[in-house]
């Protein structure tokens, strides 16, 4: 291949790979959703996944929320006092948490904790031929493995987000009101006057979309561990693909956060 053809070759090659990858992920998503309508439904597995993704993430989400809320409280007071507007602290903390930080930080935490684990689990099942074994027993791997994870993530991430919001607001109350002396009445009053249903809905919609993205990317990367370029083989491929899953889901959560805010605000 002459040297001036090479860049075109690699460009085309990479474009084709990217298209194929997107196509694979699209088909994967379709099959995972179709799994919802296939019987028998795996209720026990769903409970297990809810326990792992949801209940298992409570601690990490709780501490992230508390520290985020406490920092917001301190910084809010510091900034608002400059304008003599510390009465606005409650609405500032609540709106930031409900519309932005709650959904996004919960999603990032769940992606790091449960997304990586789901990706590694499915990746190992793929390289040790367990998924092939399922297919050979005529058991749909999507209904059996992937769909319960999808459902569990979509149910638990919004609930975790709601918990994040409440704990975060309490954290802001602890530092802003209890430590810095902002009046408790103005904190809650400001919050109740400024937070509308629309804001809460926006936060909820975001958390649904983020849950969807993170479970799709995490399980999908694991499922296609053998097809992903540059991942290598064996244990190394699973580790690389898991890293890729966390990075990709975090980035897509951030990108979709902007898009959703821009469209729905």
């Amino acid at each position: 291949m002459t040297f001036w053809v090479k860049p075109f070759f690699y460009l085309g090659d990479n474009c084709l790979y990217l298209l194929a990858d997107l196509g694979r992920m699209g088909i994967f998503l379709f099959a995972a959703l179709a799994g919802l309508f296939k019987r028998p439904f795996r209720g026990k597995e769903l409970l297990k996944q809810l326990h792992f993704i949801g209940a298992g993430s409570i601690n990490v989400v709780f501490f992230t929320a508390l520290s985020t809320g406490m920092v917001l409280g301190l910084q809010g007071v510091y900034t608002l006092q400059k304008f003599g507007a510390d009465g606005m602290l409650g609405s500032g903390v609540a709106l930031t948490l409900i519309m932005e930080l709650g959904p996004i930080l919960t999603a990032l935490m769940v992606a790091g904790r449960a997304g990586s684990a789901m990706c590694a689990e499915i990746g190992i099942m793929r390289i040790s031929e367990q998924i092939d074994a399922l297919e050979c027993m005529a058991i749909d791997p999507f209904r059996y493995l992937i769909t319960p994870k999808f459902l569990a993530a979509i149910i638990s991430v919004p609930l975790l987000t709601a918990m994040f919001d409440v704990v975060g607001i309490y954290g802001g109350y602890l530092t802003g009101v209890q430590m810095m002396g902002v009046s408790s009445g103005s904190f809650f009053n400001g919050m109740m006057n400024s937070v509308s249903n629309h804001d809460i809905q926006l936060g909820l919609i975001k958390s649904f979309v983020f849950a969807f993205l993170l479970v799709w990317i995490s399980t999908g990367r694991g499922y296609f561990v053998l097809q992903i370029r540059g991942a290598g083989f064996g244990a190394e491929s699973v580790s690389k693909v898991t890293t890729q899953a966390v990075v990709l889901s975090s980035i897509s959560v951030l990108i979709f956060d902007y898009l959703l805010t821009a469209v729905l605000l």
Binding site: D132, A138, I139
Partner: protein, 265 residues
């Protein structure tokens, strides 16, 4: 009386071509391979590493699609089937994977019971009885509560075989059934194979490195070399072959048998 379905081959390869590797660096693994696997008999597929032995099994199962050619299972073309029809066809197969491919989060009992739970309407009690029965045949009684990681390689293979035979398949595929086992366990697996085949009368396709021992089981031997095949009915035929690479193969792998023959003579 021999009915028509009994006389047709269980599996038939017609001019199968399979490429591997990415665009630009593809190489052919199978160059227009044609042969048929007789019903109720044992076919051994042998050949060096990377000659496409395992690929052949994946092609039969429809886990991989050939680049051209047809593969008939009971007269149905696997390469053109998808979805439910492919799943129904796979019900005819039992597969023992190279690494046994047991589900590591399920116990031995649950692994063997899985195909029964997912693919039949048996009650839990009937399933328990059937699994207990198989465990006894395969000398695994007492291990049902263990997890795959707690078993030796030989036991894992036995559990894999138990799982593969649960739905009483017509065709059983063995991917390197004795790799990584010591001679005693290897003999053990072969004895089990003979016993179960006698009992269930399935068609067997064995891919193996264990030459010449595995040839003792074979009714037909298929040698894969650089994408081409040669079919033999027994070891003597291999030794008499005129082709240079087969002679070389025979001398390298069947050396002991040659010596044994000359001693007898």
């Amino acid at each position: 009386m021999v009915t028509e379905t009994e006389s047709t081959p269980a599996v038939e390869f017609i001019d199968v071509v399979k490429y591997f590797g990415e665009w630009g660096q593809r190489h052919r693994v199978l160059h227009g391979v044609s042969y048929s696997v007789p019903r109720g008999k044992t076919t051994v597929i042998a050949g060096g590493s990377g000659q496409g032995k395992s690929v052949t099994l994946k092609l039969v199962l429809g886990l991989l699609k050939p680049d051209s050619g047809r593969i008939l299972v009971d007269g149905q073309d696997v390469t053109r089937l998808g979805g439910r029809k492919l799943r129904d066809l796979r019900m005819k197969f039992g597969v023992l994977f190279q690494g046994a491919a047991l589900f590591d989060s399920l116990s031995v009992f649950e692994n063997i019971a899985l195909p029964l739970r997912e693919r039949t309407r048996l009650t839990e009690q009937e399933i328990e009885e059937r699994v207990a029965d198989t465990l006894e045949t395969l000398e695994l009684t007492g291990h049902e509560k263990k997890f795959p990681a707690q078993l030796s390689g030989g036991m894992q293979k036995r559990v894999g075989l138990a799982r593969a035979l649960q739905l009483e398949p017509e065709i059983v595929l063995f991917d390197e059934p004795t790799t990584g086992l010591d001679p005693v366990m290897t003999q053990d697996i072969y004895n089990l194979f003979r016993r179960t085949q006698e009992k269930l009368g399935y068609t067997a396709i064995i891919v193996s490195h264990d030459i010449p021992k595995v040839f003792d089981l074979a009714d037909q031997i298929v040698l894969l070399n650089k994408g081409e095949i040669d079919v033999f009915t027994d070891v003597a035929q291999i030794k008499d072959s005129e082709k240079p690479y087969i002679r070389e193969f025979a001398e390298m792998t069947l050396g002991d048998l040659f010596e044994a023959d000359s001693k007898k003579g």
